[in-house]
């Protein structure tokens, strides 16, 4: 009996009129937890009842506390007939179970009914008394903190990052149970809501247990999803990254000034002198072994699965051995783990050593078990059509789903190995279900990690520190992790444009956020590849086969489109890449979104060159040259638009002794359906060589056209799908989070791939245009974390849902900082001939404020002794490095507007709030709602219905956060928005699942005086220190 839950029902307001005769309501409340129910008195004839009940006490196991939601039902008392339900409130009491989160839940909650929506509000107070339970075999995992945020939460420090945790639970979907035929839609919806609430509670508890087993105390990057598999059930699954977090207890840590690394730098002279590493010249055996083993595997998966830069060459002078040593060490740390995956997308400084590229795996599965007890497992990537153990599966058992995911994860792991990486970061999983076919997808970024964070501080040796020291800063993550002599795929490497020592690919694709220490030139932009493929309607295996045959082609084309668009923007790297493949009855949709940037460390991308197939036709030639001109113009325009003007570097300066002859690459359009031919693709190309597009058919022509149809956002607007926009660092506190949904109906007459592509492209472009128009009052502004989701609810319907946040920034300052930025990079280019270490940019990132970080100090030590860069410049980097840093101290908007009766709750998909400091995490918000109507027309049609519902969902999220004592939700995400309509019956139904972290933030303006003073004080030692040493 380790917990006592106490609930008090205070009052209600704005209740609906339940008694037509008196225009009033006789309301009372039922409070239910588990199997215990309490009732308040009936408050007669009022729309604003004051129950002021006693404390209802539930004595429960902490296991139940974690699983069960508190269920509050408001009813209208009726003497003669059954009491009418007004609506319900589900309260997740999980946030009350951790010591540091909320202590009480108290506030006005909207009373929600799945048929009528919000009907008034109820004021509730909830408290939990937890008794310490020392039972080691307990089933609960109270106290494990959960965060949706995919980075280390702002007021915590990561002691250890343990790694991947996953779990799934399966149940029958109440909507498909026999009883559903006789119960009301309301009862069915409520059964579903309650079940999902229970299942997610259970899931969270189970994940918590796994975390405790790993001796962690928190899950970061927690992502929970529902698969509505229809007849075959309901799957709730979650992944996350187990960590041991330390709360930064010092109140000063909340001050922005302390977030700057200056503090650490100041301490640096106390650290022992730099030691020099043992530089072995021989390659590690592990290294080669890994490489060779995986080349085989690779041949099947390259063109579609691993998106990386392409390149090859010889090892950097020092890079090889260190890489090997590092790998060895990391491997030992990761080997114990089944899946060395991390759901994080942003990392503590020094955590990420190298990035290999994107790895992804898809698999097509059949959910059908009624007509065909067998299921077909098709590995979408390898195109090896595997029939797995036919009869031993019952599709309803979690083991089946577990096995499916295990398979995919295994594949991801092997892809990562092929790239010479032992870990996968920015990892995520998703599904797309249509009838009985399900596509499971997983993707992430292969990476080499610093082992220091992965285990208890035992490995702290000189070796490690030496490794650290040799890691170039600001470009280290770009350096290839794989062995260039044993390239897993044909690629082209050059020496890093930043440090000139190590090899880098010419293009880099990743699923993570841009590391804060990365040196970027200009601004970034949202890049999308959109693709539709028609598919014949088919049943069961035939359908699954058709889909799995289409998948590689789609992946390939999406990749090509991304590459072309990236080149067109004059950029060389993609961050936050997310490829979604959606399956429908008669088509497949692919939508890839990413943020393109120009990494200073990577070579300048070549242009795009168009080659005609029929060179003799003069008019055709003319056409081609016209197109070529247009493309060149676009590239030039984009470079100007995104302020991409990298320093000119001559061939000598680069001094790249690249052995291979310049090779002209061609991107062949494969006409054949044979998979072998796809593998022939040689995506490599020389640095100076243009990317050749060969136009040999109308399809290709279309592609070129579509390249040019993407309209850049209107001036004053930027967009990206990462947390922050590179090149903009002076955000104001004006933010606007929004969700936009569009559904289009395709006319069934012209369903060709081409028409479909155009429709889909227009849909996305128009949606973006609408957003730019709607938010025009916020200019200059950036749409951050733009998240597109595509679904195909019916044959001819395409639904696109977008959630993003618009943030206003200060234009003048933006210009200023870019200028200094460019100057800095120019300077870098000129000083790079000398053998000196780059100053440690990564020190300046503030994702881990006041983190005791010995290797970083080591860094600084070497930097300050060796670096020839003036200290003033370093000060610039301090400012530039973080969007939350001192840079935006100078401009911030007015204090929040006057007191209103309802407290403002901000919502954002980002992990931070511009112009503010998060001081407390109150717990995870994970809510699931169903809304149904049988009077669609009366509610304003589908648009009116969904508009109202989404507004209600926002309202309920805000109310829960406010009740926890918070004033914002960060890392907010709408994970699901399933909309079904039947206009003929005047009916519609929608399911929405949202999550995020409830937080308390304090505006920086409130801390202004203190912080600026402190900033000045802490920066001082740095500057003087720099001058002394140079």
């Amino acid at each position: 009996m380790p917990g006592k839950l106490k609930v008090k029902i205070v009052a209600g307001r704005h209740l609906p009129v339940m008694d037509r005769a008196s225009d009033l309501t006789d309301a009372f409340v039922e409070v239910k937890f588990g199997n215990t129910t309490f009732k308040t008195d009936v408050y007669l004839k009022s729309l604003n009842p004051q129950w002021n009940s006693e404390w209802f006490k539930f004595e429960v196991d902490d296991e139940d506390l974690q699983d069960e939601p508190l269920q509050i039902t408001v009813l209208d008392h009726d003497t003669y007939s059954a009491n009418d339900a007004i609506g319900k409130v589900y309260i997740d009491i999980d946030p009350l179970l951790y010591s540091e989160a909320a202590t009480v839940i108290s506030g006005w909650f909207p009373i929600y009914d799945t048929i009528h929506g919000i009907r008034g509000e109820i004021n509730v107070i909830v408290k939990v008394d937890l008794f310490n339970d020392l039972n080691r075999f307990r089933q609960s995992s109270c106290g494990v903190k959960f965060f949706c945020t995919t980075s280390i939460p702002k007021c915590y420090r990561a002691v250890i990052i343990h790694g991947f945790v996953e779990e799934l639970v399966v149940n029958e979907d109440p909507e498909y149970q026999w009883i559903d035929r006789i119960r009301t839609p309301r009862a069915s919806n409520e059964a579903r809501q309650r079940l999902i609430s229970l299942m997610s509670g259970e899931l969270q508890r189970k994940i918590g247990l796994k975390v405790l087993e790993m001796r962690g105390n928190a899950v970061v990057g927690y992502l929970q999803c529902f698969d509505l598999e229809g007849e075959s059930g309901l799957v709730v699954r979650a992944i996350g990254t187990a960590c041991t977090l330390d709360k930064l207890s010092s109140p000063a840590a909340f001050l922005p000034a302390c977030n700057s690394p200056c503090k650490e730098m100041k301490e640096s002279p106390l650290v022992h002198p730099p030691s020099h590493g043992c530089r072995s010249t021989q390659n590690s055996p592990i290294h080669t072994a890994t490489g060779s083993r995986l080349t085989q595997n690779f041949s099947v998966s390259v063109p579609t699965l691993i998106y990386t830069g392409m390149g090859s060459g010889s090892a950097g002078k020092e890079g090889g051995p260190f890489k090997a040593l590092l790998r060895q060490q990391t491997q030992s740390a990761l080997e114990q783990r089944e899946f060395p995956f991390f759901t994080l997308t942003a990392f503590p400084p020094g955590f990420l050593v190298h990035v290999g590229g994107v790895v992804s795996a898809r698999s097509v599965k059949l959910l059908d078990r009624i007509h065909n007890p067998a299921f077909v497992g098709i590995m979408g990537n390898t195109r090896s059509y595997k029939l797995l153990d036919w009869n031993s599966f019952n599709a309803d058992e979690p083991e089946t789903r577990d096995a499916w995911w295990a398979e995919i994860r295994q594949e991801i792991k092997s892809h990562a190995k092929a790239l010479g990486c032992h870990a996968v970061v920015g990892y995520s999983e998703s599904t797309s279900i249509c009838e009985e076919v399900c596509i499971l997808s997983a993707s992430g970024t292969a990476a080499v990690l610093n082992p220091r964070f992965l285990q208890d501080g035992t490995v702290e040796g000189c070796l490690e520190q030496r490794l650290e020291e040799n890691l170039p800063v600001g470009c280290g993550f770009c350096h290839i992790p794989y062995d260039e002599l044993n390239m897993p795929f044909p690629a082209h490497l050059t020496y890093c444009y930043n440090c000139r020592k190590q090899k880098v690919p010419d293009v880099l694709f990743t699923t993570i956020d841009l590391p804060t220490d990365a040196t970027v030139i200009g601004k970034g932009c949202l890049i999308q590849a959109r693709l539709c493929r028609l598919k014949k309607k088919a049943q069961a295996e035939a359908n699954a086969t058709a889909i799995s045959n289409l998948l590689p082609f789609m992946e390939y084309e999406v990749h090509t489109q991304l590459m072309n668009k990236l080149k067109l923007k004059g950029m060389n790297a993609l961050f936050g890449l997310r490829i979604q493949i959606t399956v429908g009855e008669n088509m497949l949709m692919g939508l890839a979104s990413a943020t393109g940037v120009y990494l200073a460390a990577l070579p300048t991308p070549g242009g795009i060159q168009i080659a005609g197939k029929t060179p003799n036709d003069s008019s055709y030639e003319q056409h081609i040259s016209h197109m070529q001109k247009k493309i060149n113009d676009t590239i030039a325009k984009n470079k100007e638009l995104y302020e991409i003007n990298p320093p000119e570097t001559s061939e000598e300066v680069i001094g790249s002794p690249i052995p291979e002859p310049r090779q002209r690459s061609r991107l062949l359009r494969s006409q054949s359906e044979s998979s072998d031919e796809v593998i022939e693709l040689d995506l490599s190309h020389g640095k100076k060589d243009a990317f050749v597009l060969e136009i040999d058919d109308t399809d290709a022509m279309e592609d070129v056209h579509s390249l040019l149809t993407d309209v850049p956002p209107p001036s004053g607007f930027y967009s990206c799908n990462t947390e922050i926009m590179p090149g903009i660092n002076n955000w104001t506190s004006e933010i606007q989070m929004f969700t936009s949904v569009r559904v289009i109906r395709l006319s069934s007459l012209n369903l060709t791939n081409q028409a479909l592509n155009k429709n889909f492209n227009d849909l996305c472009e128009n949606l973006l245009k609408s957003l730019y128009f709607k938010l025009r009052s916020m200019i200059p502004c950036c749409l951050c974390h733009v998240n597109f989701t595509v679904s195909l609810p019916e044959d001819e319907l395409i639904q696109v849902t977008v959630t993003a946040v618009a943030i206003t920034f200060d234009k003048n300052q933006a210009l200023q900082t870019t200028k200094t930025h460019i100057e800095k990079s120019l300077q870098r280019a000129s000083t790079d001939n000398e053998e000196l270490l780059q100053f440690p940019l990564e020190l300046c990132s503030d994702s881990l404020p006041s983190h005791p970080f010995p290797p970083a100090k080591e860094h600084l030590e070497s930097a300050s002794s060796n670096s020839g860069i003036p200290a003033a410049q370093r000060a610039v980097t301090v400012e530039k490095a973080s969007p939350m840093g001192e840079g935006n101290f100078r401009n911030r908007s007015a204090p929040p507007c006057a007191n209103s009766t309802v407290g403002v709750v901000k919502m954002t998909p980002l992990s931070f709030i511009p112009g503010a400091k998060i001081t407390k995490y109150l717990g995870i918000i994970n809510m699931f709602f169903i809304r149904e109507t049988t009077s669609l027309r009366e509610e304003g049609g589908v648009s009116g219905f969904l508009h109202a519902f989404i507004a209600e969902v926002f309202a309920m999220v805000r109310a829960h956060v406010a009740a926890l004592g918070g004033n914002a939700v960060v890392s907010y995400i709408m994970k699901q928005c399933v909309f079904m309509e039947n206009p003929n019956k005047n009916q519609a139904q929608c399911l929405i699942n949202v999550s995020g972290d409830a937080v308390v933030f304090v505006r920086e303006s409130d801390l202004e005086v203190a912080s600026t003073q402190q900033a000045a004080a802490t920066c001082q030692p740095l500057c003087t220190g720099g001058e002394v040493t140079t």
Binding site: R13, H14, W108, P110, I118, E121, P714, Q736, M737, F738, T739, S740, V741, R742, V743, I744, R745, L746, S747, N759, D762, L763, N766, K769, S770, L771, Y772, F773, K774, R776, L797, Q799, C897, A898, S900, T901, V902, V904, V905, K906, M907, G940, V942, S943, G944, L946, H947, A948, I950, A951, E952, F954, A955, R958, A959, F979
Partner: protein, 357 residues
């Protein structure tokens, strides 16, 4: 390709003031889009007509959802569904309750009932204000009327408290409620030259001086209904014109005081008895509801028009009225000085306001 569903929901509800105005003015979505196109917004923003259509639809849907809350503005402040900054909430409410001069002149003083609602069609045709907008304005009048009709305390304060309107707008609504309750006739042809402002000015003066609330603040309906006792007493003033000696004396006192000061002295002298009879008779008749309704018609007929036909300048009207009311104090035989002041003080203000072309 047709758009089946197209929505945008912000955590902070987006309010476009221009679209709000178009919505309040009762334009359909397509008309609103056309008007927006004409405003040159496409050129300014580089948007397409489709974008504008979608944007307008979205705003209209939001306003439609907000309308229910705007009917009881305090609800807008306490509701949780739409997160709207307070300044924006105030703007929404103020604009929603704003009305057109042309419209209010049509319904001012009319009973706010169903019957009148049917006339809205005609009003819409006559004024060029869309029927939808007429309905909104009419419903606003009616809603405010219903809420404050039976309430104690200051009319303006009550309106302000229950509808969260600005001081200016609350005063206007007080006038509308007062006129509707007393059913003052304002539609006659000879009253057409008067603006809503003129009437509102008079209403304020009357509320301050002629209602129950003016003497006793603890009575029900105090600001809405005229003080019956006061109206009853007003017939005592009749002696001023009925008693021939008193009338002559009054005239001579006024004429003596104003000689040489008026440009229209002779006209005044000639008309004094008519004017005085008019003003005192208006007072004496106010005991009948019908004559209360005709108050403004009578004032214009009996005072404004005769003076206007003789081309009295406003300054002369002011001098005359001041002298006319003040000189009663020197009439020895007249005992209702206080009553006279309560009546004439207000009437003087009203007449001065009503005296224009």
């Amino acid at each position: 390709m047709t758009s089946e569903l197209d929505i945008f929901v912000g955590n902070t509800t987006l309010i476009d003031e221009d679209v709000y105005r178009l919505w309040l003015d009762g334009y359909s979505v397509s008309d609103a889009v056309a008007l927006r196109v004409r405003s040159g917004i496409l050129e300014q923003t580089g948007a397409t007509a489709a974008v504008l259509q979608s944007d307008t639809m979205d705003h209209y849907r939001t306003f439609h959802m907000l309308e229910r809350l705007l009917h009881a503005p305090p609800k807008l402040l306490h509701q949780l569904i739409f997160q709207i900054p307070p300044s924006r909430q105030a703007l929404l409410i103020e604009r929603y309750y704003a009305f057109d001069e042309a419209f209010v002149r049509e319904v001012l003083g009319k009973k706010l009932s169903k019957g009148t609602k049917k006339d809205l069609d005609d009003i819409s045709t006559k004024t060029g204000i869309t029927l939808k907008s007429c309905r909104r304005q009419f419903d606003n009048f009616k809603r405010v009327f219903k809420v404050v009709e039976e309430m104690r305390g200051s009319l303006v304060d009550n309106i302000q408290q229950h509808f969260l309107l600005s001081d200016r707008l609350s005063r206007d609504y007080a006038a509308i409620v007062f006129f509707a309750n007393n059913r003052f006739e304002t539609g006659k042809k000879k009253l057409q030259y008067l603006s809503f402002g003129d009437f509102a000015f008079c209403a304020e003066l009357m509320i301050q001086n002629w209602t129950l609330g003016a003497v006793d603040s603890q009575v029900d309906d105090m600001d809405v209904d005229l003080d019956k006792e006061f109206l009853q007493d007003l017939k005592e003033l009749k002696v001023l014109v009925a008693d021939k000696d008193l009338l002559d004396l009054h005239k001579s006192v006024v004429c003596t005081a104003l000689r040489g000061k008026l440009s229209v002295f002779s006209e005044m002298e000639a008309n004094f008895k008519n004017l005085s009879r008019g003003l005192v008779n208006v007072a004496a008749k106010l005991i009948h509801n019908k004559d209360v309704r005709d108050l403004f018609v009578d004032l214009v007929e009996k005072f404004v028009e005769p003076c206007r036909s003789d081309h009295w300048p406003l300054s002369d009207v002011r001098l005359f009225l001041n002298q006319y009311s003040a000189s009663v104090h020197s009439l020895d035989g007249f005992r209702h000085q206080a009553l006279w002041d309560r009546y004439m003080g207000t009437l003087r203000g009203c007449l001065l306001r009503l005296y224009h072309d």
